[in-house]
């Protein structure tokens, strides 16, 4: 027996109850009927698809290596061969300007960066890393937070006290300050903690750092939810039937907090992706030769005056993806949270 099943609100008249549909299926149905969430999901899917197909674009369409400098290279624009990095020939001849957007998918669609690399190809490859880090860190964060939040909320006492103080300590630091500090330290020599070894330049490093700093933000609400569940009758019943703590947590508590975790997942993915972008922008996130949208914004910063498309394109990617994830997250919350549904019905 679960609270999700036992406390389900009565179905409204407009939505005839289907006895065979479980709470998850009903939530999915509600999500499908949420137009904003569906638009966001489709948008997100397109972004993900484009990023997944980055090698296809780079190798077969643009014929470029987005990780190799091409400062002395040339490109064909409007039938004429031009240098990718053009030396100014007017006046004193100061400065070099990368090729601008050609709007030709065949090469330099969004222009070149200071290294003469194709920005479009880098944007797609960078998106893979941004999304990967955002999602991986969100999953890791939610998994850790679920374990810690359930333990603290279920057992209470000294376990709760210790874990809560741990959350407090992390919470006491401004998120970005903590992330930057950890990144600066770990980027020098990597993470070597017992059996865990992560190289300094590895993508796993920002994943772990971002996941850790957000654990309290997810774990605290889960802890509160579990504490509330402890007084529910179904839990007392399980205890009375002699179920072990592990079994109660696994079979009774976890299914009840899972919808909350599922709601957190897209929201944390968006938040973590933004954090990754910020860290990479500050050069303490994704490290060369890898790219992310944050590193591309950083690359474009030095060309903001002459080639703003680099920064704008990467910024738009981050912004649109974050908005899509947030709208989708809101949709998931509305679909899973009966209270939210009631709010919507008022």
């Amino acid at each position: 027996m679960t609270a999700a099943a036992s406390t389900a609100a009565p179905q409204p008249a407009a939505e005839p109850a289907r006895p065979s549909a479980g709470p998850w299926r009903r939530a999915l149905g509600r999500l499908r009927r949420n137009r904003s969430a569906m638009i966001a999901a489709v948008g997100l899917l397109l972004i993900v698809l484009a990023c997944v197909l980055a090698p296809l674009y780079a190798n077969t369409i643009a014929h470029t290596d987005p990780f190799t400098s091409n400062a002395s290279g040339t490109a064909i624009v409007n039938g004429a061969r031009v240098p990718v990095l053009a030396q100014s020939t007017e006046g004193l001849g100061l400065g070099v300007t990368p090729i601008g957007p050609t709007w030709d998918p065949g090469g330099y669609f969004l222009g070149a960066d200071s290294q003469g690399r194709d920005v479009m190809a880098r944007l797609l490859y960078g998106g893979r890393n941004s999304l990967l880090i955002g999602l991986s860190s969100a999953v890791l964060c939610c998994a850790l937070a679920t374990v810690l939040g359930v333990l603290a909320g279920y057992f209470g006492g000294w376990i709760d006290a210790v874990l809560s103080r741990f959350f407090d300590v992390i919470w006491a630091f401004p998120v970005y300050l903590l992330a930057i500090c950890l990144s600066v330290v770990l980027l020098t020599s990597g993470l070597h903690l017992g059996p865990i070894h992560i190289d300094a330049g590895s993508l796993a490093l920002p994943v772990v750092i971002i996941a850790l700093i957000y654990v309290p933000y997810v774990a605290r609400p889960l802890r509160g939810q579990v504490m509330a569940l402890r007084n529910k009758e179904f839990l007392h019943a399980a205890v009375g039937l002699g179920a072990s703590d592990l079994r109660i947590m696994r079979r009774e508590v976890l299914p009840n907090v899972l919808p909350t975790v599922v709601v957190f997942l897209p929201l944390m993915t968006a938040l973590n992706m933004l954090t990754e972008s910020a860290l990479s922008f500050l050069s303490v996130g994704v490290q060369s030769p890898d790219a992310s949208w944050g590193t591309i914004i950083n690359d474009g910063l030095a060309l903001l005056y002459t080639r703003p498309a680099i920064t704008i394109a990467a910024g738009l990617c981050v912004g649109l993806t974050a908005v899509a994830l947030n709208v989708l997250g809101d949709g998931v919350r509305d679909a899973l949270d009966p209270n939210a549904r009631l709010r919507g019905g008022v």
């Binding site: 190799t68 400062a71 070099v96 290294q115 330049g201 050069s283 490290q287 005056y305």
Partner: protein, 564 residues
Amino acid sequence: MKRITAITGAALLAVGVAACSGGGGATASGTDPAGQPAQTAAAGFQEQHKGGTLRLLAKAGDGTLDPHINYSNGNWQVFQALYDGLVSFRKVGGKASYDIVPDLAAEMPQVSADGKTYTFKLREGVAFATGDPVTVDDVVASFRRIFRVSGPTSGTFYSGIVGAAECVKKPAGCTLDKGVVADAAANTVTINLVAADSEFLQKLALPHAVVLPKGTPDKDQGTTPIPGTGPYKVESYNPNKLMKLVRNPHFKEWSRDAQPQGYPDEIDYSYGLTPEAAVTAVQNGQADWIFDPLPADRLTEIGTSYAQQAHVNPLAAFWYIPVNVNLAPFDKPEAREALQWAFDKNALVKMFGGANVAQPACTILPPAFPGHADFCDFPQQDLAKAKELVQKSGTAGQEVSVVVADDEVSKQIGEYVRSALTQIGYQAKLKVISTNIHFTYIQNTKNKVQLSVSQWYADYPAASNFINVLLSCASFREGSDASINISGFCDKDVDAKIAEAMKLDQSDTAASGKLWGELDRELMKQGPIVPLFNPKQIDFVSKNVGNYQFHAQFHALLDQMWVK
């Protein structure tokens, strides 16, 4: 080494000593925007341009105001208008700015036959900004103070003075009683060296050897101005906001070569604006000059729409890759030679701002620098040859880290280097670390840095300031943050030739120049350093500014700009 603290590294050098007397006749050519030779002689003072306020901008203040301690390009430039030493570099633009001229000394010193004794006759009638006359006691006290405040070059540039070794060990008790001797009656100061030093006068012409009032406390004066003898004095200094210079009421021009009077009545050096905002301020006439390197994406605009306000001058400097010859894979000569072929230096020049902002470097010694030989044994990138050499060395596939500072240019160059290393067969990674620690980090052998990107700006015009400092055995100190021989290169034969060249510097500059050139070529073959390019300085001034002069040693002569 980053631009602002470009000269800091020389604090770490172990400069050898050789023969006696004056400095090398260095040359450096500057050009104005029209490509004309820069001004090479001091014109007479033009009274009609006197007055007004010169407004300078920098992103941040450049540290202490104490000239015996500060070791930054920014404040060294300002100190030219505030302080004087016994001798100085001639304060004009162009080639002649490397000449040593008497400053507080009435004439060039008398040098003993063995080159160990310098006797200076002090100029009379010169006063500090307080009104007190400059005496031989001030000179002696100033030399003592260099050691008592543990000046950054006290153990290097001035370590050849008799008694300096004890002073370095026990700064507080420093007397230099046998090293710097005053004769008040004759108004002379005699400096005794333990051995002849062909570069001693050049070292005396640096701000670390300026003369301060004898009562100046023996500790860093920080933001408290110390009275000087120059045409200006510091009225106020807040390193986060403003340094305000006003005329020194006690200054009377005694030598136009050494210390000409300045044009503006006031010089306001404001801090805090980003270089982007500073460029806009100069364009709008709200400021007159920018200290910081110009943003790369504004160069084209400045070079076209504001060409008359931009001045481009070559620097006695280079960007280079120190190659750690003691760590795999670059302990193999073939691997080092591969590096010499691996990089397209024209591409690197593009990343720095283009062909008019830098030029590809083939040699360690910059063009038009003493000892420079015009050769180019690795004229262009040859990836196939580099790959072949990597294969031959048996190091293909090895991991290589390139350590760079986190400023924009260094990161771009590091990324290019990483990319090229990958192309020739290494598993290359870029390691970006804070500019604040980069320079010391790459020097320390404990950090096992294989390759890095660094810069070297000459402290003074002498070939030894590059080759001896960067590649002699004495400059290599294992496990130390102060091991300016970052490559860890130590070759006894090369050391012997360096010593010979330094000895020749005094007696036969042509022969020494030839020897330095040969050394340069030999070192290029051994490959402890990969020179990348020689940068140029771009000064962007407002349309109000006239009489811009570029000093090869201290760059734009600020107080010689007129705004009226």
